[in-house]
């Protein structure tokens, strides 16, 4: 998380070393960089193969940003925040503040639940034995703990819109410093014996400094010496401290508070607690004694730890805009007392929030290693609730554009990460045209696991009108099935893809295969194509021919003849299939009882002369006599030329027969 640390890559394979250990990188989709060895070529380099060409394999490395989301436990965070995100989109920009606060709470509570789960996972033996994972989980806990802490503070300062922030800040600070409270609980359980602990007074001081007065009092009451006058006086001071309630007249409160303050200081000066120096110190903290607080500050590990407590004793009615100055002063004071301590990112971001410097805050949150989870969701929330609109306008920040780009980046990340694609869809849906375009690019890149998976992807694409994506997926699957000799599957995918050329290609393949071998591939698919056949004339032909094929097999010759003649007349017969189609007529023409009328016989003869003969001639012209049959082939004859005569004779015989019968009947 340091600006100065830039990742460096080194390949170190044989080829790279030979080239002087240089490398080149190309961005590939999915936020990856493809790295490979590189040799510099200049305008004056010789255009010749290098002396080492072919000696070493060219290796390509893929560098990818590491992300915390590889941790399985974190998936629930992604999935749940996705649901909350969608809820927020539905709320739109017109909902009440309470509803936006609800959304903010939902986000925070799911981070907290996830932290709890991570903590639980960390303790399991499975993780304990896996060092990498343990490390990753520890890191994750730190990152999301910080994210939640920042979000909470943001919520207090910018969303709740309370006039007086001290009580909430106290809660906030206490929540993120649980160690003190844990110790306090121990003391409460130990009752009288607690004061014998070495850290008794230190813990009490810390408790006072985080503003947990109730707990401090409860512990003090249990002290063995609680009945002594010093303790009684202390108890009185602590209980009589006025606490500001929202709505109470401010002036009245101030005068009460002043009075209490003066009274308390007077008591301390009067040496009421002389016999109990430790107790006196506590009360000096409560009255805001600078010396004692400075001592306390030196003990503290985070600058913001005791700020809310200090405000409680010195400025209990602090308003958000006053906090800005108070926080700045406090931070100065703290850094003066911790000269050797560098402020880390978290420290900076908290001060940015308190000092109302959202611009820098947003800039810094993007450096958190959470793949922009926090920034994306927080900015989206800011955008929707609209409280800070004027701030962003004054600072020349185009909030909608910022939100748009954050969501776009986050959505693309999810979409290009295996198995998170479904979550990414919702984010990209918010990005209008760009989102759609990104989906169009990213959806087809998702590796397909099964048909169901593919159908799911297609359903997503279809809902968004991404016709090209749907078709591309179908085409890929069709091709795969075809290569795998699953022709039925290939044909069905092709029909789904609505790609006429592809469908025609596969139909051609099936027809050619039939004319070569007499084997009809995937009859169960062809028979059930139904009205889907109209996508391609070739498919219509295939379906109709198959219908004929079935009728013929079922010995329903009259219907078969009718269909066959229709097919001959249809003008959709592919050239290569003419021989097969005409050969099919031979047995019908030559059968013992006549099946074809004279008119149809003439038509067959006509087709023979006008279609098949020219085709054969053309082929012979083009390829020479010997190769003719290589294009026109039927499994039933060896040489296509031979059938011409057989067919002509068969037609003539049937014509004669049919004419006689037809005319006999008519007379």
């Amino acid at each position: 998380m340091n600006d100065n640390t830039v990742s460096t890559f080194e390949l170190g394979d044989a080829l790279a070393i030979r080239c002087g250990n240089t490398l080149t990188g190309v961005f590939v989709p999915g936020s990856k960089i493809a790295l490979s060895a590189y040799r510099h070529v200049k305008w004056n380099s010789r255009d010749a193969p290098t002396e080492t060409a072919g000696q070493d394999p060219v290796l390509i490395y893929l560098a990818q940003e590491t992300t915390l989301f590889e941790e399985p436990v974190l998936r629930s965070l992604l999935a749940e925040s996705n649901v909350t995100f969608a809820t927020l989109q539905e709320l739109g920009q017109k909902a009440s503040r309470a509803e936006y606060l609800g959304v903010s709470h939902a986000y925070r509570s799911l981070v907290r639940a996830c932290l709890e789960r991570l903590d639980h996972a960390k303790k399991t033996p499975e993780v304990q034995s896996d060092e990498d994972r343990l490390q990753r989980i520890t890191e994750t806990i730190i990152v999301f703990y910080a994210a939640e802490c920042l979000w909470h503070l943001f919520e207090i300062l910018y969303m709740q819109q309370n006039q007086h922030v001290v009580p909430q800040l106290l809660d906030w600070a206490r929540f993120y410093a649980p160690q003190i409270e844990d110790r306090a609980t121990d003391f409460l359980l130990m009752a009288e014996g607690a004061s014998e602990n070495d850290d008794y007074w230190d813990v009490l001081k810390s408790l006072v400094m985080v503003g947990a007065l109730d707990v401090t009092r409860a512990i003090l009451v249990q002290n063995r010496k609680a009945s002594q006058p010093a303790f009684k006086a202390a108890e009185l001071i602590l209980t009589s401290m006025p606490v500001y309630q929202e709505g109470f007249p401010l002036k009245k409160f101030h005068s009460q508070w002043e009075h209490w303050h003066v009274d308390a200081e007077r008591k301390i000066r009067a040496n009421t607690f002389g016999s109990e120096p430790e107790l006196e110190e506590l009360l000096q903290l409560v009255t805001g004694n600078n010396e004692k607080w400075d001592a306390g500050i030196q003990e503290s590990s985070e600058w913001y730890e005791f700020l809310p407590g200090y405000l409680l004793y010195t400025k209990p009615t602090c308003k958000p805009f006053e906090l800005k100055i108070a926080a700045a002063n406090w931070l100065n004071r703290w850094t003066l007392l911790h000269p050797d301590r560098q402020l880390n990112n978290m420290d900076r971001m908290i001060s940015q929030l308190m000092e109302h410097d959202l611009r820098l805050f947003i800039y810094d949150t993007q450096k958190i290693n959470d793949t922009h989870w926090l920034t994306t969701h927080l900015i989206d929330l800011i955008y929707h609730c609209g409280e800070l609109k004027s701030y962003f306008e004054q600072n020349n920040i185009d909030l909608p554009a910022l939100r748009h780009s954050m969501i776009y980046e986050y959505g693309s990340y999810l979409m290009s990460t295996r198995s998170l694609w479904q979550l990414g869809v919702d984010y990209l849906d918010c990005c209008k045209q760009e989102g759609k375009a990104a989906m169009e690019l990213l959806l087809p890149r998702i590796p397909l696991r099964s048909d169901r998976h593919a159908l799911k992807l297609m359903s997503v694409a279809r809902q968004r009108g991404l016709v090209d994506v749907e078709q591309e997926i179908c085409k890929v699957l069709s091709r795969q099935s075809f290569d795998d000799r699953r022709y039925g599957s290939a044909l069905e995918w092709a029909i789904r893809s609505k790609d006429v050329l592809l469908v025609t290609g596969i139909a051609d393949f099936i027809l050619m295969n039939y004319s070569k071998t007499g084997n009809m591939l995937c009859p169960d698919v062809i028979v059930s194509i139904g009205s889907r056949m109209f996508i391609s004339p070739r498919l219509v032909f295939l379906s109709k021919y198959f219908e004929f094929y079935k009728l013929y097999r079922n010995r329903d010759f009259l219907s078969a003849v009718e269909l066959l003649v229709n097919l001959l007349d249809s003008k959709i017969t592919p050239d290569y299939f003419w021989p097969s189609l005409l050969i099919d007529t031979v047995p019908l023409l030559e059968s013992n009882d006549p099946k074809i009328f004279s008119k149809e016989t003439v038509a067959i003869l006509h087709h023979l002369e006008t279609e098949l003969v020219p085709i054969i001639e053309r082929n012979t012209d083009k390829l020479g006599n010997k190769n003719a049959e290589s294009v026109l082939k039927d499994y039933r004859v060896e040489n296509v030329d031979e059938i011409l005569n057989i067919m002509r004779l068969a037609c003539a015989r049937n014509l004669a027969r049919a004419l006689v019968i037809e005319h006999t009947h008519s007379i």
Binding site: R452, C522, V525
Partner: protein, 356 residues
């Protein structure tokens, strides 16, 4: 009548199948889930525990008791008997799991794994096993290679029969009786098969599912038969409609209902109360279809059903949304008593109490 109570529980896995553990005497509080599209897929055994945080409206929280790592996506699960679970996987195998109920931690163990049941003949690559159906001790599986495999749960290593039923992916299978099966493919063709006959001797019984637009493809992704009247077959399709067939009369569908706007992912009668049918859809909806009372009673006697009443079916059956606006596919559901359990791509399971 109390209102249904919906609670969602995020499990960090895309769930492809859910099943309640069968219980004889009481409502089940254990269930199994199978995941898909994850780096590592698991079958997990959950148990409902009463919620200790009193401040929420959630009564039960599922807790994972045990898990078994699978080689690939889990595609379907079905209980063969009280303790034995059959799981089909996208690597073309099925596995049998044994569930051991215990007071503290229940256990789940894989007891058998079949040979590779489904593969593409030419490339010899594994084909995903897409569905399974159980009848008695028999298990039938279908896969993307278009084959149906039948074996007995007592020995899944030995396949009793392989039927090359289709030349494209089969998406769903369902037993009608001990001998008869129905399968559905990606084109919406439903075939009736004989479990005893070899490929060549299969009855040529196939029906095409009804569709709004005849020119577009419309796969059948879910099949279910009536638990008592097994001639009633419900088919859920890609366009979101339900086609009902009376298997005694295959000439035309008995009823056709347009329902969801997205592909139906799962369809089924309530296990104990066949007057209720549930459908789940890709867009994240679960609907409950209820036969209107009066007519239901009359129909039980004459052996027909409101589902078979053609155009009148809409007036005889009312429909309620059980889950809506989930926005991602509900892949599977199961009923047990008054509880409905749904598994979804949102990486959550939804538990609905008091469905009726």
């Amino acid at each position: 009548m109390s209102f249904p109570k919906v609670s969602s529980h995020f499990v960090s896995e895309k769930i492809s199948a859910v099943r309640w553990l069968p219980e004889q005497l009481h409502q089940s509080d254990r269930f199994v889930t199978g995941s898909w599209d994850m780096d590592h897929n698991f079958v997990r055994l959950y148990r409902l525990q009463s919620n200790q945080y009193a401040d929420t409206s959630v009564d039960y929280i599922p807790r994972c008791n045990d898990k078994v790592a699978m080689e690939a996506d889990v595609t379907a699960m079905e209980f063969v008997d009280k303790n034995t679970l059959a799981v089909s996987c996208a690597d073309g195998h099925i596995s049998l799991m044994n569930v051991q109920r215990a007071v503290e931690e229940d256990q789940l163990q894989r007891t058998a794994r079949s040979e590779r049941l489904h593969y593409f003949r030419y490339s010899n690559k594994s084909a995903p096993c897409t569905g399974l159906s159980v009848y008695g001790g028999d298990i039938a599986t279908v896969g993307e290679d278009g084959c149906v495999n039948i074996m007995n749960a007592s020995n899944v290593k030995q396949v009793k029969r392989t039927i090359e039923a289709d030349s494209m992916s089969l998406l769903s299978v369902c037993y009608i009786s001990q001998q008869q099966l129905v399968t559905a493919n990606r084109m919406g063709i439903i075939r009736v098969l004989d479990a005893r006959a070899a490929t060549g001797a299969q009855p040529k019984l196939s029906i095409g599912v009804a569709s709004e637009d005849e020119k577009s493809s419309n796969f059948v992704s879910a099949l279910s038969t009536h638990p008592m009247q097994q001639h009633i077959l419900l088919c859920g399709t890609e366009e979101g409609s339900i086609t009902v067939w009376d298997l005694r009369n295959l000439e035309c569908p008995a009823s056709y209902l347009s329902a969801h706007d997205s592909p139906i992912t799962d369809i089924g009668f309530h296990r104990k109360d066949p007057s209720k049918v549930f459908t789940a859809a890709e867009a994240g909806e679960v609907w409950m279809w209820t036969e209107n009372k009066l007519i239901g009673e009359r129909n039980l006697q004459d052996g027909s059903s409101a589902w078979l009443s053609g155009d009148r079916v809409r007036s005889l059956i009312s429909v309620d949304g059980v889950l809506t606006k989930i926005r991602k596919s509900i892949n599977s559901f199961d009923t047990n008593g008054s509880r409905l359990l749904c598994g979804s791509d949102t990486e959550a399971v939804y538990l609905i109490d008091n469905i009726f």
